[in-house]
Amino acid sequence: MSALNSPLEAVEARYLDVDPVYAETRDIRLLGFVMALGADCVLFSSFIFAYLYLRTASPAWPPFVGGHQLPRLDTAFAALNSMVLFGSGVTMHYALENWKHLKKQAFNGWLAATIVLGILFLLGQGHEYLSAQMTWQGSSFGASFFTLTGMHGFHVLVGVCYLIVLMIQSNRGVYTGSKYFGLTAGTLYWHFVDVIWVFLFFLFYLW
């Protein structure tokens, strides 16, 4: 085998040697998946636009409802929950790395950690929703907050389900050391969910 510059190249060379057709389809599927994530970005961007519009058009923020100004959100708790989510991004990265190096045990561990952290994040969001002072219907604050974080939470939920499916599939031998597009897609999706949260955390808690 010729000398190659990175572990990834070694992997690519492996599957190209093994299956040139797979290489082509993987490229197309990766392009398609990345474009789908791009489209999902537009979805979040549209609602972020709505939030920015409503917030800048409002005479006060948080707005007044029933004579009282709504309180700001609990940044400390959300920061903690954010660490949980970003932590799950780190664990997912290691899960995929271990898969590429064919370390299945470690892969399973890191993937399980990701799933647990994802579920913890969702529980944290649940707590945030239950303790929120504003309602979905009551003000533009509630409308934008619950809709945007709700959409994000829904994406996390779908992600957790998909990670569970990946756990099952990888243990059934569906993926090999050289053919694991589902895992790549799952990792990309999970990181995407993290990046969206960075924006939402900034927009609702820090600003």
Binding site: L4, N5, E9, E12, A13, L16, P20, V21, A23, E24, D27, I28, L31, G32, M35, A36, G38, A39, D40, V42, L43, S45, S46, F47, F49, A50, Y53, L54, A57, S58, P63, W136, Q137, G138, S139, S140, F141, G142, A143, S144, F146, T147
Partner: protein
């Protein structure tokens, strides 16, 4: 960047076995050609519905009192005509039917990038229609195809409308994604970007717009749905919401949507003109790149639909300037097409007649667009019949005429039969005369002060008594267009059985789809051809190697049918 090992196979071992059984072949098929037919059939069905609603509108407007329909039914009719027309007719037909059938063949591919997703995209289409019409129990949506809140918040139909359009929106987004991946990754060897046929360029630009813009519409409609059903106050002023925000979110998609309508039609014209002028297209690069320029600029003009609507005055200026600017790449295309006519050897088959008409009707629609771009003029024209005239000229006189040109041009490839030329020409004249009579008077009625979406224009009689005459001219002319569509449908049904056999290349065209049999085999290409030049140069041999069939290097059109002596001809 390391050297990626280059993989060349001739792919002939990657032809999957043919689908078996009626369901796999015709119902749940992943074959882009079958899916294209399905889009065509369902799209034409909805075309007849949208057209019928239009005729009901026109009959209502025969009389200034407007007593044919109740006001609430009339409002439902113009809403559904627009909604069905935009999302269940034009977009599925130009992207789902034309794009699906033609583009993979033009790039030498065996199918699109994600055939199963393509099938899903199609099946979401009739589902969306079902959702939309099921609102009938509560009252069809009736606040216009734009469904602005707060008025739209008052109707249950709005919720169904949102769900239906979100569904077709998902279909559109997936199609856009599919086509983009297909054009980027699946072109035949040697087909560089600047050797691609212009319809493929157009489909690519359209797919980009589709993929990015449609999701923004889904977001706007999701917000409207939540506000209508759950009273989440995005658009209610008393709870901190903003009605004008809906317009921004809606038009951010809906303006690029009109480029989704027209870019494929531009692509069709670019394909048809070289064939029937028997000479190369003029300004290939300009036409290709202007499609991308229009697609991109199209995202920066949405607020020109909102000039009088309550946006800050300073915001009007940049949108006005970019709207003017978009006229430049569009004008370049028209000039290039005119230059293509020059020095040609023109044959007046039906597709060419539609292409020639397009040049005139689309230019007219584009010019009235300039009238609307100027803010001071728009403050007079907005919400009047002038706007209705403008957009019908570009949609009916642009997209629909482009679509008709495409159907009459590619029908032989899809079916192996020629359409009846006499019926085709009759349909053409009926359409063009109908179009002019229906939509031209709208321009002066609008300038004189007639607002749109009026079920009754009684009050206008005192200002402009001729309004009755012109509305009646419009009504009669609209039936000419209806007749034209009926004739086309009859022509297609008749010709599938009784049309003259077309052979591989009846028009003597030069893009790759005209090198395989009509209709193409399910796998399109047994051997993927190699491309070494642009397709349009009629004085050069075909720029392909490794073709499946033994075609002439210099394709010539099939001779016109001679009269049959045994039927009395000489």
């Amino acid at each position: 960047m390391h050297a990626t090992p280059v993989v060349h196979t001739d792919h002939s071992d990657h032809i999957h076995p043919p689908p078996e059984g009626f369901i796999r072949k015709y119902v749940f098929s992943t074959d882009h050609k079958v899916i294209a037919f399905q889009y065509l059939a369902v799209g034409i069905f909805f075309l007849m519905i949208a057209g019928s609603f239009a005729e009901l509108i026109r009959v209502q407007l025969w009389n200034p009192k407007g007593t044919f329909l109740s006001f609430s039914t009339y409002n439902e009719m113009f809403t559904m005509h627009g909604t069905v027309g935009v999302w269940l007719v034009v977009i599925p037909l130009v992207t789902g039917a034309l794009g699906n059938f033609i583009m993979p063949l033009q790039i030498g591919a065996r199918d699109v990038a994600f055939p199963w997703l393509n099938m899903l995209s199609f099946w979401l289409f009739p589902v969306a229609g079902l959702i939309l019409f099921s609102s009938f129990i509560f009252g069809l949506p009736s606040a216009g195809w734009t469904e602005y809140p707060p008025i739209s918040l008052q109707y249950v139909g709005t919720a169904f409308w949102c769900l239906a359009i979100i569904t077709i929106g998902i279909s559109s987004t997936l199609t856009g994604l599919n086509f983009t991946a297909t054009v980027v990754k699946m072109r035949a060897p040697g087909m560089t970007w600047t050797r691609m046929p212009l319809f493929t360029w157009a489909t690519f630009a359209t797919a980009l717009v589709n993929m990015i813009a449609t999701v923004a519409l889904s977001a706007a409609l999701l917000a409207l749905f939540l506000d209508t059903v759950f009273h989440v106050p995005f658009f209610e002023a008393d709870k901190g919401g903003a009605p004008v925000m809906y317009q921004h979110m809606f038009w951010f998609y809906s303006h690029p949507a009109v480029y989704i309508f027209i870019l494929p039609a531009f692509g069709v014209i670019s394909e048809v003109l070289p064939v029937f002028c028997r000479r190369t297209i003029f300004g290939y690069k300009m036409i290709a790149f202007s499609s991308l320029a229009i697609a991109i600029l199209g995202f920066a003009v949405w607020a020109h639909h909102m000039f009088p609507s309550g946006i800050a005055p300073w915001l009007q200026l940049p949108f006005m300037i970019v709207t003017y600017a978009i006229g430049i790449p569009t004008g370049l295309k028209v000039f290039s097409w005119l230059a293509t006519l020059w020095g040609g050897r023109i044959q007046f088959s039906t597709p060419m007649l539609y292409a020639l008409a397009f040049l005139i009707t689309f230019t007219f629609g584009g010019i009235t667009g300039i009238f609307l771009a100027a803010v001071p003029a728009d403050l007079h024209e907005h919400g009047s019949y002038f706007v209705v005239g403008h957009f019908h000229y570009v949609v009916a006189g642009g997209s629909v005429i482009g679509f008709l040109a495409a159907v009459t041009f590619w029908f032989p490839k899809a079916t192996g039969r020629m359409l009846h030329e006499g019926l085709g020409k009759l349909g053409f004249w009926l359409f063009v005369i109908g179009l002019t009579g229906t939509f031209l008077p709208m321009h002066w009625l609008g300038l004189e002060g007639l607002p749109r979406r009026y079920a009754s224009y009684e009050y206008f009689l005192a200002r402009y008594p001729d309004v009755v005459f012109w509305n009646r001219v419009e009504t009669v002319s609209s039936f000419f267009m209806a007749a034209s569509v009926a004739i086309l449908v009859i022509n297609m049904i008749w010709s599938i059985r009784r049309g003259r056999a077309s052979g591989i290349n009846p028009w003597g065209a030069r893009t790759l789809e005209w090198t395989i049999s009509s209709p193409p085999p399910y796998y399109n290409f047994k051997k993927i051809p190699t491309v070494f030049g642009r397709p349009y140069d009629y004085s050069e041999p075909l720029p392909y190697r490794n073709l499946d069939n033994d075609v002439d290097a210099y394709p010539a059109p099939m001779p016109a049918p001679r009269p049959n002596p045994s039927l009395g001809g000489r």
